[in-house]
Symmetry: C2
Subunit: 406 residues, 2 copies
C-alpha cells in the first residue's frame, strides 16, 4: 500500500513550478521551468535511494537495484512537461506514482528480483517541439536521435541547445537496452471512467494518430475594393478544410477524433484578405483500416480544395503512429490487481498518445488510468481525486511487484 497523502503532496509541490493564475501549469518541455521541475523531482528520486542517469535526449532514469542484476528492469514512468495551458496531473501523476512506489519500497525495505526503474521522458506533450513523445520515441527507435535534437520550436530554438541550457544533455546512449516490462499510470484525460463510475481503467491499447500541417496560399488583397468574385481568400478555403477534419472524425464514431489546434493567418490585418493560412490537423482512430480511410479522405479534401477555392494547398505529414495494442499478460496483471484490491474497473482504450505507446514497441507494456474531473485535460482546470490517484498507484505497485518478483 502506497502513501496517498505523500503522493498528493508531491504532486502539489511539483505543480508550484510553472503554476498559472488559473490554477494550472505551464512548464513547456526544456524551458527553464522544465529544468526546475526536473531538478526538484531528481532530488526526490535521489532521496528515495535511486541511482540517476540521463541519456542524450534528456530522458531521466532512477534505478532501484534488484536481487538479480542480470534481469532486465521493470520500468514505470511518464513525463513532467506540460501543455501551454496544462493541468497538474497529465504526466506528473505517472512520475509521482512511480516515485511514491520507490519511496514505499524504501520505507518497507522490500527488494524485488528484477531491478525497478522510474523514467521521466523528454517532451511528451509535443506542444513546443515535434515529434510528440520525443524521448520515448528515440528510446524505442521510432526516429533517430538527430531528428529529436535538431527539432526547433516556433522561435527557432533547438532541442539540442535547450537540453544544454537546462543541464539535461546527458551522456547515456538513448535506448538499445532491454526493458523487462513497462507500466505507466495516467489520468484518463477523457470522460468515460467518470461516466461509468469506475476507479481504474485497464488500458488495452491506444488509438492510432496522424498529425499534419497544412499551408494554404491565396492572394493578399484589399478587403474593401476587391469584389468577392475575384478573391483568392486563403482563410475561406482553410475554414472548409478545418471543418472537414471534424466531419471526417464525426463520420467514424465512436472512436474517430479530429482536431485543429493551431491556426496562423497571414498577414493578419483587419482589412486584408488573408494570403496565407497555416494550421495543424490531428486525426485518430482505434482501428488501423479506418484510420487509413480517414487519412485518404483527408488527403483528397486537401487535393480538391486548391481548385475549388482558387488557392494552393500543401499538406505535410508531421507524425503518425498506428493503433497500438498493449501486452496481454501485463494488462491482465493490472486487471487482477484492481480486482484483488476491490477497485471498480473497466477495460478502456487511450485516446491520447503516451510514452507507453512507443515503449510498447520494445518492451511488454500496459497502462493504468484513473478518472479526471469532467473528463477535462489539456486545460488549467484539469483535476483528479486523491483517492483515485492513490488507487491507481496501488495497482501500479502491485502489478510491478507481480512482474518483477518479490
Amino acid at each position: 500500500q502506497i502513501n496517498g497523502q505523500r503522493l498528493w503532496q508531491s504532486l502539489m509541490e511539483l505543480a508550484r513550478v510553472g503554476a498559472t493564475e488559473q490554477g494550472g501549469n505551464c512548464r513547456l518541455a526544456l524551458t527553464a521551468l522544465d529544468g526546475q521541475g526536473r531538478d526538484l523531482v531528481v532530488g526526490w528520486m535521489k532521496d528515495a535511494g535511486l541511482s540517476i542517469s540521463v541519456d542524450q535526449v534528456g530522458n531521466i532514469f532512477g534505478r532501484r537495484a534488484g536481487r538479480n542484476p542480470a534481469l532486465a528492469p521493470v520500468m514505470t514512468g511518464s513525463h513532467i512537461d506540460t501543455q501551454p495551458t496544462g493541468g497538474k496531473f497529465d504526466g506528473c501523476y505517472g512520475v509521482m506514482a512511480g516515485l511514491e512506489i520507490m519511496r514505499t519500497l524504501q520505507d518497507t525495505g522490500l527488494q524485488t528480483e528484477a531491478p525497478l526503474e522510474l523514467a521521466i521522458w523528454t517532451n511528451e506533450e509535443g506542444s513546443r517541439f515535434v515529434p510528440v513523445m520525443m524521448g520515448s520515441g528515440v528510446f524505442a527507435g521510432k526516429f533517430p536521435l538527430a531528428t529529436a535534437l535538431d527539432a526547433t520550436d516556433m522561435s527557432g530554438k533547438r532541442v539540442r541547445d535547450e537540453l544544454q541550457a537546462i543541464g539535461y544533455a546527458g551522456m547515456l546512449p538513448v535506448g538499445g537496452r532491454p526493458v523487462g516490462a513497462y507500466y505507466e499510470a495516467h489520468i484518463e484525460q477523457g470522460p468515460i471512467l467518470e461516466a461509468q463510475d469506475k476507479v481504474i481503467g485497464v488500458v488495452t491499447g491506444s488509438l492510432g494518430l496522424r498529425w499534419y500541417d497544412v499551408n494554404v496560399t491565396g492572394m493578399e488583397m484589399h478587403a474593401g475594393p476587391t469584389p468577392m468574385s475575384v478573391r483568392q481568400d486563403a482563410l475561406f478555403a482553410a475554414t472548409h478544410l478545418m471543418q472537414e477534419v471534424i466531419h471526417i472524425a464525426r463520420d467514424h464514431q465512436p472512436h474517430g477524433r479530429g482536431t485543429v489546434g493551431v491556426v496562423q493567418v497571414h498577414p493578419g490585418s483587419r482589412n486584408v484578405i488573408p494570403g496565407q493560412v497555416q494550421f495543424t490537423a490531428d486525426l485518430r482512430h482505434e482501428d488501423a483500416a479506418t484510420l487509413a480511410l480517414m487519412d485518404q479522405r483527408w488527403r483528397q479534401a486537401c487535393a480538391e480544395a486548391g481548385e475549388r477555392f482558387g488557392v494552393k494547398v500543401e499538406l505535410i505529414d508531421v507524425q503518425h503512429f498506428p493503433p497500438t495494442p498493449f501486452a496481454t499478460p501485463l494488462v491482465q496483471h493490472i486487471r487482477e490487481q484492481a480486482q484483488r484490491a476491490g477497485y471498480s474497473h473497466m477495460d478502456i482504450v487511450t485516446g491520447a498518445g503516451h510514452d507507453a505507446v512507443y515503449i510498447a514497441d520494445v518492451a511488454p507494456t500496459a497502462m493504468i488510468f484513473v478518472p479526471c474531473k469532467d473528463g477535462i485535460s489539456h486545460n488549467e482546470i484539469e483535476d483528479a481525486q486523491p483517492e483515485h490517484l492513490e488507487a491507481g498507484a496501488n495497482v501500479l505497485l502491485n502489478a510491478m511487484l507481480q512482474t518483477a518478483g518479490v
Copy 2:
C-alpha cells in the same frame, strides 16, 4: 502640368523607408519608420515653400498662402502609414501627388485665390491601431481626440506615447476650422479601372463599412480522448461564422464585401481543442439599407451560433461609417478636368475607406482614382504605372486650381 518623373522619384525614395524584401513597404502608423517617413516628407514640404503645422493627433499640414487669406483653404492629402505587408502607393500616392502640385506651383510662381493645404493624416490604415482613418476621423469630429490618443496596439502601446516618441505630438487643436474643399488622389486598390481600360476613376462616393470583433469561447480539452460528441470546439464554431461573413457578402453582389482578416486561436497547441477564438469581421456595401440588412443577418448568425455549437459568442462593434456620397460640384470638376486633358475616365465608388470619407462630413470632398496593377493592394506586390500616376496628379492640380481660383 505636373512633373511625372519627379513625382515617381519621390514615391520611390519614400518607399525606401521601411522597404520589405518582397518590394513592398512596412511602415506601420507611429512606428520609428513612420517617423522617418514623416521627417523625409516634411523636409520636402518645407523645400516646396509650405509652412508646416502639426496637430494633437499628429496630422501634418503644409500651407501655401493664397491671395485672399480670408478664404478657407482648398486641401488635398492622404496618408503615408502602410499595412504590415503593404505597397508603395496606397496613401503615399495621394501625399506625393499633393507635394508635386505644390512643387509645380512653386516652379511656376502661380498663386491661387484661396490658400492651398497638403495634409498627411495619422494612422489611416488601422492595422496597428483602431479606429481606422484616425487622424481624419478626429479632424472631422467623428470620435473624440481622447479615443484616438488612448488607442493601444496589440502590445499595449498607446497612440499618445507613440506620437511623443516620434516627435509628432503637435500643439494645434484637431479640426474645428473651415476647409473650403478636399480632394484626394489614390490608387483604386481594385480591378475595375484596369478591366475597363480607364486612366481616371471619378469617385462619386464610398461603400459603408462595419467592423466587428468576435470572441468565441468553448472548452479546452484533449484532442485524443475527448469524444466528438462532448466537445465545445471554439474553432469549429468560429469557422462557420467566418464563412457566414463571406456568404453574407456574396448574397449582396455586386457591391457587398465580407472579410475576416485576423484570427487568433487559443491556446494554440496541436493536441488541444481550442477553447477560445478571436477574429475580426469586415462588412461593406454601397447602399445603407443593404448594409443594415447584412449587419442584421450577421448579428443573428452570431446570436444563433452559441446554442448551435455549444459555445459562447460575443460580438463587439469596433467601428462603422455609412455609405458616403461625395460633393457633386467637386466630382464634376474632376470629370471635367479628366475630359479636358483627354484622359479616359469613368465614375466609380470606392470600396476602401479613405480619409476623404471622414472629411466629406466637414467639407465638400471628392476623390480621383488611378488604376493599380491587377487590382492588387494591401500586398507588397502593389504596383502602378507612372503615366497613370502623372495623369491623376494633373487632374488633381487642375481641379484644385478650378476650386481655389487663379
